[in-house]
Amino acid sequence: MRPSAFAFVGLVRLLVGAYARWVGCQPQDIQRLYFANHTSHIDTLALWSALPLALRGRTRPVAARDYWGSGLRRYLATRVLRAVLIDRTRGEPTTDPLEPLIAALRQGDSLILFPEGTRGREAVPGPFRSGLYRLAQQFPTVELIPVYLENLNRAMPKGAFIPIPITCTVRFGAPLAVGAAESREDFLARARAAVIALTDAAA
């Protein structure tokens, strides 16, 4: 790992702890798609920092190009996190915004995804968008891991620029799979419920 990545992980740990709790699965080196609630700008860094060093190398966060695409954030996203940048605003109707994610999964990378698409105001996540379902269908062998990020909305409330040091935990739940006859709505609701279920998992 690059020295800059070590520095960032150190800083994240210093400020928000980012303690991992493996509630429903173990940190294993298998291809996974982590999906989590999204409440602050440091969610991505916190989840990534909570992973063991060995897993961080092959786990890439999915980040919005309009936020992470310039300046220091761009450096962080592309050089440190090796993020997969996606367009939230679809430019040309012919391109699939999920294309970069599909390419990364084909390569064997693990991904970190925030299926709400945007940061919510509440600790409990809002409705999930359909990308998660499509990826799950297309890559049935990739483990889908629900993740709950606790306290990060307190550390960095919407509109804040400097995080307040508050201990945050990152809870990893049990893997999920799309049922044979399961509809998109049902699966997305179940995935969201799996994240919410981790809110009161005994830490």
């Binding site: 409330p157 400097i162 307040i164 040091p165 508050i166 201990t167």
Partner: protein, 313 residues
């Protein structure tokens, strides 16, 4: 014997104690039969291992000098405050006061101590921060639970920043005839407080029958308190040769440190439980959080500092 030699002897002694503790842990691990016994021994081993790390940190700070000591305690304050704030329900309106507490008050308090500004660092937080933190919160315009929220932040800052900072402030006490050895006074304080905690735990596990305050601190027993407290007082008395005190004075000082340490442990345990937690955090394996280890120091440090300052300078 100069201060450096004394420090070497002291750390040598602590290492011997830790080796004995580690061996005892290994022997007990091999013997533990019941499920509960195994859990207790595993926790004991984790505690001892954490002690090795903490002693290593302290030894490095000693070797590097007073600036390193101040930086180390500043980090201890930072992490302790982080734990306190984590357990305290704060709102969006507390953002600015919290920002000030972490990024201004913590460094500034230790810088003031580093420059020996006694008149300033002794009143900076109790007066100026006390007034300015709620003022900053009032600007956010959120009046819900305003007094409660302000008081909790003020409490957190007083305990984790102000009170803890008195431990390295001992470095700047100018005790006549004791120049250049002030770091030993920090060692003395930390050793007596922590040895008291450890001995209370040991006596409590071996002889504990009567619980002292079951609601506040279920593991504290009268037997542990008396046995551990007296042992630590005696050990502190026996360390008179590293202090500016006679052995009788050292005994009295240790007694004050032990009593304040116990009160600090009980009070912060009550605070912790009122916030709905069993441990302050998870930073230190086997012990809980930073504040679980520093709770006794927060009460003992200011009183020991002022007792020494009043009677010996």
């Amino acid at each position: 014997m100069d201060a450096r030699h004394k420090a070497l002897w002291l750390f040598g002694g602590v290492i011997v104690l830790l080796v004995v503790a580690s061996i005892a842990g290994a022997v007990l691990s091999a013997r533990a039969g019941s499920e509960r016994g195994r859990a207790t021994v595993a926790n004991l081993v984790a505690r001892v291992n954490a002690w090795w790390v903490m002693v290593a940190f302290l030894a490095i700070a000693f070797a590097l000098g007073s600036t390193a000591m101040l930086v180390m305690f500043a980090f201890a304050s930072f992490f302790a405050l982080r734990e306190f704030v984590t357990l305290t329900p704060t709102r969006r309106g507390d953002y600015v006061p919290l920002l000030l507490s972490f990024y201004v008050l913590v460094p500034l308090q230790y810088v003031l101590i580093g420059y020996g500004q006694y008149g300033t660092y002794a009143i900076f937080i109790p007066v100026y921060a006390f007034l300015l933190l709620p003022a900053a919160a009032s600007l956010a315009g959120d009046t819900a639970d305003f007094l409660t929220r302000s008081a909790k932040i003020q409490w957190g800052v007083m305990i984790t920043v102000y009170c803890i900072s008195y431990a390295p402030a001992l470095l700047l006490l100018e005790v006549p005839g004791y120049r250049g050895a002030d770091a030993l006074l920090v060692f003395y304080l930390v050793f007596v407080v922590q040895f008291s905690d450890v001995m209370q735990y040991v006596f409590g596990k071996l002889f504990g029958r009567t619980r002292l305050a079951p609601q506040v601190s279920p593991s504290k027993t009268v037997e542990g308190l008396v046995g551990g407290g007296l042992t630590a007082t005696a050990a502190g008395g026996a360390l008179w040769w590293i202090t500016p005190f006679t052995w009788q004075q050292s005994l009295a000082m240790s007694f004050v440190i032990v009593v304040m340490g116990v009160l600090g442990g009980l009070t912060l345990s009550a605070v912790k439980r009122s916030l709905g937690a069993k441990d302050w955090g998870v930073m230190i394996e086997g012990h809980g959080g930073m504040l679980d280890r520093f709770d006794s120091i927060t009460f003992a440090a200011p009183v020991f500092f002022h007792a020494t300052r009043y009677f010996f300078t």
